[in-house]
Amino acid sequence: MNYEDRLENVTVLGAAGKMGSGILLLTAVEMADLSLQPENKSKVFVLNAMDVSNPGLAGLKDYLQVQIRKVAEKKTVLLRKLYEDREDLIENGEIIDQYVFDVIKLVRPVTKLEVAYDSTLIFEAISENPELKIKLLSKINENNPNSPWFFTNTSSVPINKLNKEAKLDGRIIGFHFYNPPAVQRLVELIAADNTHQDLIDFAHTYAKKLRKKIVPSNDFAGFIGNGHFMRDALHGISEVETLTKDMSFSEAVYMINKVSQDYLIRPMGIFQLVDYVGVDVCQYIMQVMNPYLTDENLHSPLLDQMIELNVKGGQYSNGSQKDGFLKYEKGRVVAVFDTEKKGYVPISDFKEKCDAKLGALPESFSPWKQVNFDRNKTNILNKYFDELKTMETPGTELAKKYLIRSNEIGLKLVSDKVANSTDDVNTVMLTGFYHAYGPINDYQK
């Protein structure tokens, strides 16, 4: 079965979810591009968008329409060639409209799993629940006569476990997108011990056509990305716990969030990132990873407590941020949760005091937004961290400790053989998390 044939009938499980909708979009666009090739005009391409949520599927179409239009506007030069023989389509606007229609035409939103029984490729992007994943994958595998291939977007469940327990005989691969899949270029690729070589080759071709960058990860729960992120978050949490001896919980969260964003020149503070991913999702990923770890305990009672208080973060279906550790108004952080008061405290109540306590930022500081896209990024960062090293304010001390810990985590991922190289760890953090520099660096020395 060649590449096109494999993509003739595809099902995305969890298609209305945050990750599923992005995967669906990218796959729909790729399938439509194939369907528009002259040699494929007689084929019928089908993309089942399977999800249990009816409202979710209704929203999915809105999302697709907006996103496909953006895709089309960026590649109109190519689209004019694809629609060369359509004499009725003259202007860019007409061609773009037609393309949006042609992509959406492939997508069939459904709530029943049975549609996957006809597919040759199944993309799994449901919640990080190993039992549920195994149940669905084996059910499809038992009822599908095509010996389908399974791509799983899991960020934490070992692929070998899914392979073995769903009895897939090596017809599975971990193909882990980063959020949002339509934007982030990174894909972590994780093969099981007996994943078929032609499946791996297909995954590489597919990633290339989607213009994604593959970083191979070995099959350890959490892989590279969450392997770093979860431990990095736990470091932030433990720093908060230390600080709360001298200050309120909200103040401590505010300070560590600020240190991890501004002082470390990252796109988000660590607590904002936890909120972005979802407090509950983080707790869940740790639970999935923890049984596989022998020398550490990946668990946070604080996360448990937050979830008990129903503070979960995550995103609304329109992509806006739900409140978690932090409270957001129009995307800006306006307040911080307090575990004692069980409510949010406005930042304005303590910002000045906390900023004074942290001390001044190094003079050469510029925020991530400016640094990350600058052609002289390396020089800017060298200068900044050289300056940071010479300072001894509480803020810079916390930042130095953070850098050291992040570096340790990175090196451990290599020594534990989760990642094949320090470069791979850095690439994941640079492209999947949009960091301006990799965790394995000389800045902490």
Binding site: E73, K74, K75, T76, V77, L78, L79, R80, E87, I90, E91, N92, G93, I96
Partner: protein, 414 residues
């Protein structure tokens, strides 16, 4: 063309900001001034200098595609909105694609020559940021023949001029041509930095030559031109008063504060035909020569030229069309700095279309305003020295791919 039977002057020029990407105040998602705000600002800018609408006999407005960019036609109806005194007076709208501003100027000149008006308020306007560039390209493609749209590039006009650049590369060499393009871009930006209304006024890129030399990306854009070879999408309006000698008296402006139209030409090429030679701007050549002939001057008497550099290649080819360099040597002429503000013959001293901006229907009028500013000492930081031995300046405004061209020769009033 017959000698002008009457003296015609231009004065009281005004430009709005050329708004679009590059200007700090521009944000694609925030509300911006509309067509009527631009018309009003530019019109008032001129009226304030000439004693208000009561002194105006007639108005003309140049615009290309408000019908599609702004869903608005019947632009003469906006003239009385500028000043109540303009109500019940004649107003005309003219269109010749990106040459609409030039047609507004020649219309104004004709009104004065016809002696139906002594003072003509002349405005050019275009508001194009209402749609994304990829859809704007469809609208601007209207400057070409509609039957060629299907075969054309997604970015139709950049595609047309990319073909011209490609032909030039093949005939005369790519490397030197690209060097000429990059220098044209550098000059444009450096001039724009001296003009507060210019779209590239805030441009602070370091190595403009290196930027100009960026390799074209045919997948996303055209084969032979990069983004820096192109003028940007702009919103803006320009305005100027076209007046007779009597008119100058009426508005109480001394001749020295005006520029005089010495000669001009308006030339059309058949839009349904391909250019004879892609490496030559035949219509511009005819128009420029005819204008100089009617003025009785030669190219070495020009102190400065405002030419229609919608693309760098159009700038280079105009240099050749004027006879300043032989065919194929325009790129070298430009690369050597001869068209820079301190060069032999400064071109586009407030940035031209690439630097100042290209609100399509306004461009022809903007060119005249720049010449007026330069010859009457009103160009501010962008002021150049006008050599008394070369007392003439010229504007060349082009609509479409060398289809509708207006060229005008001016000198300071005396």
């Amino acid at each position: 063309m017959k000698k002008l039977r009457k003296k015609v002057y231009m004065t009281a020029g005004y430009n709005t900001v050329s708004l679009g990407t590059g200007r700090k105040e521009f944000h694609p998602k925030k509300p911006r001034p509309g067509l009527e705000e631009y018309i009003k600002e530019a019109g008032e800018g001129t009226l304030k200098q000439i004693g208000g609408g009561k002194n105006v006999d007639e108005s003309v407005i140049g615009n290309f595609m408000a019908a599609r960019f702004n869903k608005q036609a019947n632009l003469p109806g906006f003239i009385p909105m500028i000043d109540k005194e303009l109500e019940w007076k004649p107003a005309t709208s003219v269109e010749g694609a990106c040459g609409s501003g030039g047609l507004a100027l020649t219309s104004g000149i004709r009104f004065v020559l016809a002696e139906t008006a002594d003072v003509v308020l002349t405005i050019g306007v275009e508001v194009q940021n209402t749609v994304k560039a990829i859809y704007g390209a469809d609208i601007l493609a209207g400057a070409g023949w509609y039957k060629e749209r299907k075969q054309g590039h997604a970015y139709f006009f950049p595609g047309q001029f990319s073909n011209r650049a490609g032909a030039y590369f093949e005939k005369y060499g790519r490397e030197k041509a690209r060097k000429g393009f990059a220098r044209w871009y550098k000059n444009a930006i450096e001039n724009a930095r001296l003009c507060p209304t210019a779209q590239e006024y805030h441009n602070n890129l370091d190595d403009l030559i290196a930027v100009g030399l960026s390799e074209p990306n045919p997948k996303a854009f055209t084969d032979h031109l990069n983004f820096f070879d192109c003028s940007k999408v702009s919103d803006g309006a320009s305005s100027i008063a076209i007046v007779s000698e009597e008119g100058l008296g009426k508005i109480d402006i001394p001749k020295r504060e005006a520029i005089e139209v010495i000669g001009w030409a308006q030339v059309e090429r058949d839009i349904t035909k391909q250019p004879t030679d892609l490496t030559e701007l035949e219509t511009i050549k005819k128009a420029a020569n005819e204008a100089m002939q009617s003025a009785g001057i030669t190219v070495d008497q020009l102190s400065t030229v405002e030419t229609h550099d919608c693309f760098t290649i159009a700038g280079i080819l105009a240099v050749e069309a004027l006879g300043l360099a032989k065919p194929g040597e325009g790129a070298d002429f430009v690369a050597a700095g001869h068209t820079a503000r301190d060069g032999e013959i400064p071109f586009n001293t407030t940035g031209g279309l690439i630097g100042w901006g290209h609100p399509t229907g306004a461009t022809g009028v903007h060119q005249a305003v720049t010449i007026w500013e330069q010859f009457t000492g009103k160009a501010g930081d962008a002021q150049i020295n006008i050599n008394p031995d070369k007392p003439y300046g010229m504007t060349i405004n082009m609509g479409g791919d060398d289809v509708t061209v207006v060229a005008i020769v001016f000198k300071r009033g005396e």
